[in-house]
């Protein structure tokens, strides 16, 4: 496209700000800003460099003192790091948000109906909309869940859907996270820090609040309590301090005022779950679990798990305890099933999807596979069961050896891989010293589904802080920034 050097925005802070074909969150063209970024740009370019540095340091300190860290796996001693963040907020207009909100509500409602259906009548399979083998070959399909009635028929109480923006600015869904999505604590703490560091700017923008999230989450969990438990005891189940998201578990438990428990704190007896307290056993009614299906009950799932609670699944079957999310929800965020979500929405809701999918090729289909293998250097290839940016090939940035390796893996287990054309998703301005430079961003809004669907306006904007990188996961050098939805 163009360079800003020829335009009216010829200022030193922007001398490295090069536009390309990706949608730019700040510039509509080299000559024009998106109007909602005007104030922000003015504010940042008017602040002296030293003042910006001072505020950046204040923010750093604030994150450090709160111990907002995550753990990187695969290194010697699970290194703890501060989650990197960028000071410039990402701004989303009320109109843009309205579309996102409508689209997510629609999508989550449909996916929940889909889960209810495949674990009961299986109408959508009988009608041939989704092939049976896609569902039954999914590792996350739990036959233990077949025929099981869950409270309010809600399977996915807490989800975080990853959205990106295409070249034309349209929001599309990249990934559904229906198991145990994390990151919401970063959304909340980013906001708290930003409000403290840039109070004036924040006020002048009329940003919609998000602080009610924890209360909404508590309400959602309460609404899913087993019948006859008017004062439910709600707990958050964490794998423990060594988990990468432990900070978040502790944070949410504290904000909701519920007990943070580990598997060893819980016992089951006669299909009732209790927690061990110093005053004796106390019955547990709702478990917001941040432990994967596989590890949650060594009797029902992986026998080598020490994170879980023996007998928990039977208590759940008996209806004595609610788990949020339910077991087996991973079948609906499988990356191969993803390709069918638009059809799923049409099937259950008789509506056109508000938010589109990214074009997806299933390697299990021969034609698709050939296409993916022939274009490995242009495609992003993902293993269907992985998350967190692991097990992924970004074609344009890969080496020949990596591509060969992936070609081999795809041939060996085609069901396990999908390919998507590399999308240059949108870029937002980030601060590097006294320079603003564009970096790729995505958006993960958090959707709660109890007695109704509720979405706090905003979400976690993740940034690929490495220049040119498309991977936003915190484990892969990603960071985050605050997301301001305007009212």
């Amino acid at each position: 496209m163009g360079t800003l050097q020829t335009s009216q925005f010829k200022m030193t802070a922007l001398q490295n700000y090069l536009l390309d074909n990706a949608y730019d969150e700040m510039f509509a063209s080299p000559e024009a800003l998106h109007p909602h970024y005007q104030l922000l740009l003015n504010h940042f370019t008017s602040l002296p460099h030293a003042e910006l540095q001072r505020r950046k340091q204040a923010a750093d300190l604030s994150f450090l003192n709160q111990g907002i860290t995550f753990t990187v796996y695969g290194r010697e001693e699970g290194t703890e790091r501060i989650f990197p963040y960028d000071l410039l907020p990402r701004v989303i207009t009320a109109q843009e948000w309205a579309t996102v909100e409508r689209g997510l509500t629609q999508r989550i409602t449909a996916l929940n109906l889909f889960l209810r259906d495949i674990y009961h009548e299986g109408r959508i399979l009988a009608d041939g909309i989704v092939p049976r083998e896609v569902v039954y070959s999914c590792k996350q399909f739990r036959r233990q869940m077949v025929g099981l009635q869950v409270p309010r028929n809600i399977y996915i109480a807490v989800t975080g859907t990853d959205l990106i923006r295409l070249e034309n600015g349209e929001f599309v869904v990249l990934e559904d996270n229906l198991r145990v999505p994390s990151g919401v604590s970063y959304m909340l703490t980013n906001r708290r820090v930003m409000k403290r560091i840039f109070p004036q700017l924040f006020r002048s923008y009329n940003v919609r609040p998000i602080e009610q999230y924890t209360q909404l989450l508590l309400g959602t969990l309460r609404s899913l309590a087993p019948e006859g438990r008017p004062e439910p005891n709600i707990v958050l189940l964490t794998p423990g301090v060594f988990n990468s998201a432990y900070y978040e578990h502790a944070y949410l438990a504290r904000q909701m005022g519920i007990e943070l428990v580990e598997g060893r704190d819980l016992v089951t007896h006669d299909n009732v779950v209790y927690m061990r307290t110093t005053s004796g056993l106390r019955r547990v009614d709702v478990i917001y679990r941040r432990v994967d299906d596989d590890f949650i009950d060594p009797l029902a799932f992986r026998g080598d798990s020490i994170l879980g609670v023996a007998g928990l699944f039977n208590a759940y079957r008996a209806g004595n305890v609610t788990l949020a999310n339910a077991f087996g929800t991973g079948v609906a965020d499988d990356k191969a099933l993803y390709a069918y979500v638009p059809d799923i929405i049409k099937y259950y809701l008789s509506e056109e999807p508000v938010l589109k999918n990214v074009e997806t090729f299933l390697c299990a289909r021969e034609k698709d596979r050939k296409h993916v293998l022939a274009n490995l250097d242009k495609f992003v290839v993902k293993a269907v069961g992985e998350s967190g940016g692991y097990g992924m090939l970004v074609g344009p940035q890969s080496t020949a050896a990596q591509r060969e390796e992936f070609a081999r893996r795809i041939e060996a287990d085609p069901r396990n891989y999908i390919g998507q054309p590399t999308i240059s998703f949108s870029r937002a301005p980030c601060m590097f010293d006294d320079q603003l430079e564009p970096r790729h961003v995505d958006l993960r809004p958090y959707v709660l589904y109890g007695d109704k669907v509720s979405i706090v306006p905003g979400g976690l904007t993740r940034v690929a802080l490495r220049k040119g990188s498309l991977v936003v996961n915190s484990s892969q050098g990603g960071g985050s920034k605050d997301t301001w939805v305007l009212s």
């Binding site: 301090v241 504290r254 704190d265 056993l281």
Partner: protein, 329 residues
């Protein structure tokens, strides 16, 4: 409160108390070594190892006090070394990070970071220490100070609720056991020449015993600087007001246990109440003459056993209870 949380708070506190105690014994004995002929050294180090409960693999078998000090300070394969205790305390604190105050966490974490940084080992290690060129005293002082600060910060920043009381229980049960073991290790030496006022080296030994329990100054305030075995025994066992005496430790333990019982509303505490109350009464209503008429070592060993029984009773009641009992009651 979750049983696991109580368990972590209890051990966090015990490990820190243990770290402080070991540190002080090392400090006192390294200090004494400077004043004394080497003839008594063997015996003194043996006694110190005994006062630490003769930890497995830790024996005084050569004449190298610096090597022993190093092992008791920095050897992480040695479970009672100061470093192991600090690491264990910090690990327990990490598991209940949300239950303790930020100030407590900071204090403990910076102690941990200070003692685990790699230069620390090379500083303390090998040549410097073996040649005796560098005194570990400064390091030991800094550990003791940090633990004291942690205790102060704990008292002034954490709610004095159930969790805080579990911290007290851990601290005082550890302290009571340590003092009892200390007295037992010194017993033989104390009564070698009971008929005469100690002088010279003997006096220094007595002082060392009192210093090992931070008791020298407090003792002098009560009895003046005349050190006699009966008085030392009386002071460390039965003094009502001195925080390292057995009586004080057990009284504090009992009041913390009472508070926990009130807060948790736990029934069926009879066994624990009985064990702790009996030990408390024994210390409260005994005289040193009575104790001396009997078998003192046996008496101290009984106290140690009772401390262990109290520990088990606490676990049975609050932490490691069987589900059947809990459901029945």
């Amino acid at each position: 409160m979750l049983s696991r949380v109580a368990d972590s708070l209890y051990w966090m506190s015990r490990y820190l108390e243990r770290a402080e105690h070991t540190t002080r014994l090392l400090d006192v004995n390294l200090n004494l070594m400077l004043d004394e002929s080497s003839s008594g050294a063997d015996h003194r180090w043996q006694r110190m190892v005994a006062a630490l409960g003769r930890p497995a693999g830790e024996a005084w078998d050569d004449d190298d006090p610096y090597k022993l000090s190093h092992s008791l300070t920095f050897d992480i394969t040695n479970r009672i070394s100061v470093l192991s205790c600090i690491i264990a305390a910090r690990e327990n604190a990490r598991h209940v990070r949300e239950q303790i105050s930020t100030e407590m966490w900071h204090r403990l974490n910076s102690l941990y970071l200070a003692v685990t940084r790699p230069e620390m080992h090379s500083d303390m290690h090998a040549e410097a220490l073996l040649n005796g060129a560098q005194e570990p005293g400064e390091f030991l002082q800094s550990v003791m100070e940090a633990v004291h600060q942690f205790q102060g910060v704990t008292d002034s920043t954490m709610s004095h609720g159930e969790g805080w009381h579990f911290i007290q229980v851990g601290r005082y049960i550890e302290r009571a056991s340590a003092t009892a073991m200390l007295l037992e290790a010194y017993h033989h030496d104390l009564w070698k020449h009971p008929e005469r006022i100690p002088e010279g080296n003997e006096y220094l030994e007595y002082m060392g015993l009192l210093r090992s329990a931070t008791a020298f100054e407090a003792y002098c305030k009560v009895y003046t600087a005349d050190l006699t075995p009966e008085r030392i025994l009386e002071f460390l066992l039965l003094d009502e007001n001195f925080p390292h005496s057995l009586r004080f430790s057990i009284e504090s333990l009992v009041s913390a246990l009472d508070a926990i019982q009130r807060e948790s509303g736990k029934s069926r505490t009879e066994n624990l109440t009985r064990l702790a109350g009996r030990l408390q009464a024994g210390l409260r209503y005994s005289s040193v003459e009575e104790i001396l008429r009997g078998d003192v070592v046996g008496y101290l060993q009984d106290i140690l056993r009772e401390c262990r029984d109290i520990h088990s009773a606490i676990y049975e009641l609050y932490i490691d209870y069987s589900i059947q009992t809990a459901l029945a009651g």
